[in-house]
């Protein structure tokens, strides 16, 4: 099962209500055969912009991040279920991926254009696209093609 991260923004609620909303979301993941690895509380604060959700305008929210493993086929069901929840303002599921190892390419990018790989490729493509041109110094005293 791949790892996912669920980012939740819950509406401003009293503590017991908040607990029940969190329990509800967590149980829905467990019901779908998922495993919860970590639950982070990222605090509550004023939202950077007002959000209207379920017929209400929200200006404050509580942030949570839940790391879980679940079958990929169940993710759409989970999203649908969270979408119906009244207490959730924002729900985003992101796949957790290992960052790929790579070398910094800034040095190559800062070279003059003629030395850059992508520019050289572009020149190569442009050369390939050019049609063969008739040379006027080929000895014929007339133009051999239709004008």
């Amino acid at each position: 099962m791949p790892s996912y991260e669920l980012f939740l923004v819950l509406r401003q609620m009293s503590r017991p209500e908040l607990v029940s909303a969190l329990k509800r979301t967590a149980e829905s993941i467990l019901d779908k055969g998922g495993i919860i690895r970590r639950l982070q509380n990222l605090g509550s604060r004023a939202l950077p912009y007002k959000i209207s959700e379920q017929g209400l305008v929200h200006r404050e929210g509580t942030y949570f991040a839940i790391n879980f493993d679940a079958a990929p086929a169940k993710i759409s069901d989970l999203k649908e279920e969270f979408g119906r929840d009244v207490d959730i303002i924002r729900r985003n599921v992101y796949k957790m991926e290992e960052p790929e190892k790579y070398e910094c390419t800034l040095h190559e990018e800062m070279l003059p254009p003629a030395y850059r790989k992508d520019v050289q490729d572009m020149i190569e493509i442009a050369k390939r696209k050019q049609k063969p041109k008739y040379n006027y110094n080929s000895g014929l005293d007339y133009y051999p093609f239709q004008k």
Binding site: P48, Y49, G61, T105, L106
Partner: protein
């Protein structure tokens, strides 16, 4: 008449001197060529021992390899790290600065843009301005002095 003969005599002596010099030079050249011929003979030890031979060194004019600031500190941008991401956002319009201003490599710039977009979607970051909390953060770059000229 006497003067003329004197001048001729002087010239003759000078000419003879030149010819003598030329002879000397030619002998020296012969000697030099013979000596070079001996050194050119296949004996590697003789070349190695010669202190005047050129030494193989790396290019002294080669510039140091440039590395972008995120690669230097080995940071992978994460969408929850709002304090870092807001440094790549304009305080006036909330737009993400381009690569010609941030000075990041292609991959890191892409990662930063993706993370900022995610953070904005998760209501972690504002979209039309920079978070007031981070307005006085230290600047990583100067948007007035881009490292490359603008595309347009």
């Amino acid at each position: 008449m006497f003067k003329l003969t004197k001048v001729i005599a002087q010239n003759a002596s000078a000419l003879s001197g030149i010819s003598k010099n030329a002879r000397l030079l030619s002998t020296a050249a012969v000697r030099y060529s013979s000596s070079t011929a001996t050194t050119n003979s296949p004996s590697a030890n003789a070349i190695d021992s010669n202190p005047d031979e050129p030494i193989q060194i790396s290019n002294p004019f080669e510039k140091e390899r440039k590395v972008c600031i995120l690669c230097k500190h080995n940071i992978t941008p994460d969408y929850k790290n709002v304090k870092l991401l807001s440094q790549f956002q304009s305080p006036y319009t909330g737009r993400i600065y381009g690569r010609h201003i941030t000075g990041l490599c292609k991959q890191k710039q892409e990662d930063v843009e993706k993370a900022i977009r995610r953070a904005q979607h998760c209501a972690l970051m504002p979209t039309y301005h920079k978070d007031l909390e981070f307005l006085k953060d230290p600047k990583l770059f100067d948007p007035e002095k881009p490292i490359r000229p603008h595309k347009y």
